[in-house]
Amino acid sequence: MIVPSSLARDAGIAVNRGIVVDDGMMTSDPNVFSLGECAEHRGICYGLVAPLYEAARVLADRLIGGTSEYHGSVVNTKLKVTGINLFSAGDFAEAPDREEIVLRDASAGIYKRLVLKDNRIIGAVLYGETADGSWFFDLMKRGIDISQMRDTLIFGQSYQGGSPLDPMAAVAALPDDAEICGCNGVCKGKITTTITGKGLTSLDDVRAHTKASASCGSCTGLVEQLMALTLGDAYNPAAVTPMCTCTELGHDDVRRLIKAKGLKTIPAVMQELEWKTSCGCAKCRPALNYYLVCDWPDEYADDYQSRYINERVHANIQKDGTYSVVPRMWGGVTNAAELRAIADVVDKFEIPMVKVTGGQRIDLLGVEKEDLPAVWADLGKAGFISGQAYAKGLRTVKTCVGSDWCRFGTQDSTGFGIRVEKFMWGSWTPAKLKLAVSGCPRNCAEATCKDIGVICVDSGFEIHFAGAAGLDIKGTDVLGLVKTEDEALEHIVALTQMYREQGRYLERIYKWAKRIGHDEIRRQIMGDPEKRRAYYDRFVFSQTFAQVDPWSERVSGKDKHEFKPMATISYNQAAE
């Protein structure tokens, strides 16, 4: 690697922290120019790409005989690290002639600080909520006098009086090469030109053609703003996002109507709610199937052909078409006999990979579909049932060793975790549901990033909910503290049932909770014993139909056709 500054130094060019250049990007040697990270302009070395572009524009002009001058750049940084929203720009060191405006909301995880000098913004740091970053940055770059809006400045662009500000301004101001979708690397220009070029009018179209917002979805808001900007009045985002292209109705309306009209089959839902397609699609059918299972546990006949393959064959499909098998290991506790049985299965079926999961289970990967029933038969003999690692339903209850072994344990977290798992296994939920029970606040079971978690304390059980540790990282919120195991179980089950009844298909508990409001959930589960009991009772009723081990059913011959080819044609037959 060539180090540019030492190269310059060897050539007798002036080097300070970087290669010293003037406003024309010229070094101390009039025949040599420099820009980018290695250059030092007016005492500053920039490490970002924006100043490089500005300097390059000046240099290009100089090289063709122009007289442009570079006066330095005002830079801003927006960190894109999962779970951290941070924006910083300008200068925020303290000095006597400077003032600060600070907004700090610790529980919401928001911190905003503006540094002012002569009624102008010279620095900004935003943490937690960075949407106004580009607006502050623009005010800073243009040196706008903010004295008129000083009182409301910190609240951002949409809180300023006077003529209504365009909420699209920030997105409109983005350059064409600004990256909108980080997952698929799609920039603004690609999205806007595809919208106009292909005449796209819906978010789904834009996702399909550009892949923007088609993976994790965290840029959906930006993409919608771009659509509004590009299409103007032609873009009319429906107030309710339809379930899929088969209907205009959103998930909540469909759920409401299923109950109100007493709809009990998928064809009845499609008929009554005027579905646009004859038999739905891969998005709406699994959702409808779940809503019907949840609402009519005793009457509805599960529609297997509307379930995703994993829930149809009770294993997880892998990229090569083989499956992975996870036996249930209550609370993550096992013993020699179980481990021996697993080892024997691995040997017998030549299973290529054995992996311990994050939920304290053992995953057997690379099983051929045709072998699944035989694998389950052997595991079943050792007492295993399906771990439902594939289910939009209860997955695992992770535990620590609790008061049985741990010198810090305050309650029997292992025993309680197992009790919860034995109570709740088999239940279907809108999305996967992962639980954990920690025996003390040291939290070795990592209960505070789970859908529902319990932290045992001396005085009882602190129930947590709405955590996430996937696309989003989010610590749980406390639902409340209860004294006994029985109470803790009732609260956890009631909360789960509330989520089952209100959640949209594929909506994790933290997203549902955000939509409904954490206080509302606390009010119903902690504050309203009657309501809580009713939720609990409905869950218990539903469990009488749900707690059937799908593996043993299939070992006894159910869905036999799923696991065998319809026919096998040999070379000889084909050649006859």
Binding site: C279, A282, R285, Q305, I317, P565, M566, A567, I569, A574
Partner: protein, 111 residues
Amino acid sequence: MNSNWMTIGRIDDIPLRGARCVKTPQGKVAVFRTAENEVFAIEDRCPHKGGPLSQGIVHGKAVTCPLHNWVISLESGRALGADEGSVATLPLRNTDGELSILLERRLEAAE
């Protein structure tokens, strides 16, 4: 003659809005039965990343691949929507519920 009609089973062997696999010397074939009782045979390999189409959800005359949700037309074998690609379709005959597919006879098969 360089191709063969091979009997693979009966239409009732396939669930409505479902699929079954047929293993052939030319690879796996997915045989679909729609809600309207139509039957189609296509190569069991998504043009995107080779996902087993026979394991997907069947809707209308299409199947959604279980790996990355590409939607493949059972009639044409082509990817629907914005995705581009296609899989081979095979001629399929339904004689009073008995299904057969037409396999091309290959050199190695004739040995």
